[in-house]
Symmetry: C2
Subunit: 229 residues, 2 copies
Amino acid sequence: MRSPDWITVRALPLFCDMEEEHFDQLIDGAFCHRFPKYANLVTEGDTADFLYVLVDGLVELYGTHDGQKTTLDVMQPVGSFTLAAVIRDDVYLKSARTLMPSQILMIPAQTVRQIYRCDHAFADAIVNELAERYRCTVRALKSVKLRNGLERLANWILCTDEQQGGQRSFELTFDKRTLASRLGMTPENLSRNLAVLTKHGVRSAGRGIVIENPSALMQLAKPNSLIDG
Amino acid sequence: MRSPDWITVRALPLFCDMEEEHFDQLIDGAFCHRFPKYANLVTEGDTADFLYVLVDGLVELYGTHDGQKTTLDVMQPVGSFTLAAVIRDDVYLKSARTLMPSQILMIPAQTVRQIYRCDHAFADAIVNELAERYRCTVRALKSVKLRNGLERLANWILCTDEQQGGQRSFELTFDKRTLASRLGMTPENLSRNLAVLTKHGVRSAGRGIVIENPSALMQLAKPNSLIDG
DNA sequence: CGCACGCTTGATGCTGCTCAATTTGTGTGG
DNA sequence: CCACACAAATTGAGCAGCATCAAGCGTGCG
């Protein structure tokens, strides 16, 4: 692998503490590819051949069943996915595709497991990564089961704003239909819910969202650190 | 801790490969308690002081928000819970209570983390446990987002039957209201859905469930190994 | 035996989905 | 730069699924 910016990969919590030699081994067998928008990366049910690292771009993790599809997560750089399947040497449970042109690092699963066995710091990082992802998924499950669509949207807006620095204003980085699916609603209802939020301190136009009245929005959203993270 | 049957605890995947000395250290600082039915064990939001092992009985893991409550999992012996919170030294995300009189082993979180750091086999077991729990939660999330209530019930019946040996007949081990919450519906709708399943090869009376026509039930359920496990 | 609780059943209303039509936005090629 | 084609987003109407509310029924336990 040759890459300008894998210093950022090395800096990931997952890799930053492991031994130089082992990190070199990891990327020795790895591929770094550029993919166009909407390229399929992973198909659920396939055996886990690679650990993926999103270096640049945007990736959607989704599940399918009986002709339906639901977005489970939208990954931002820099982060890894398919770790649990790789470690367990099992099939992928989520499919993955790019939402914009993306640079993706693919590390052979066997190499990951091999180095996991001999590098203590790497194993420790894997434990922390798995625990954190697990907790995120538990939060997502609580969100779906304990809130309605409007509340999920309101909290997503609050979280996304905070994550981007709390400017009270940000832009969507992907389709509204994808956002709708992530929030567990149809595109039509996302539209309607965004319209409803006008009465609760949120102004939205196109891909822009402005929180004009944070306290009004929070009163509706009832944010909860045990759900939203 | 004194206990007749902690051979079963030692046999858990989480503990079975660790060194004898370290296992002894773990249980040295641990408590083993009997709890009555509906005893509160864990409150979400509290800092994780203990790793719990359900030795005997039944435990419900649930989440609450804004006056609501939803069942996230029903644990059967022998198994552990709160591992992710303990490892990350963070707060619990789920509450826990017994659903019947239960014997519970409580291991101080600090001890777990300490031995995790020095016992390689234990660390490895933790990785596998976390990965598996993560995958279970992903499945649950897909189930809620991709299926309706009737389908979730149908698949739950198929899974529970298989888990109990495929006798095509089994008994509920807990409240229907808890089952309803676990499946993401109201008790009223669970009743109605059970009635609907009469037309799809399932006969139910009281706590007994009989699968009279497996293929009819499966046709409705559309079981999926990437959701049901 | 009788009370209490869990479960069932029915009636009603809300939330969110489906379908369809229009408007807006985006990317392409002349 | 504009015109066009196509995709995404909005809006409205109608409907299905599910929740809520309110009785009634059954079972188990004191």
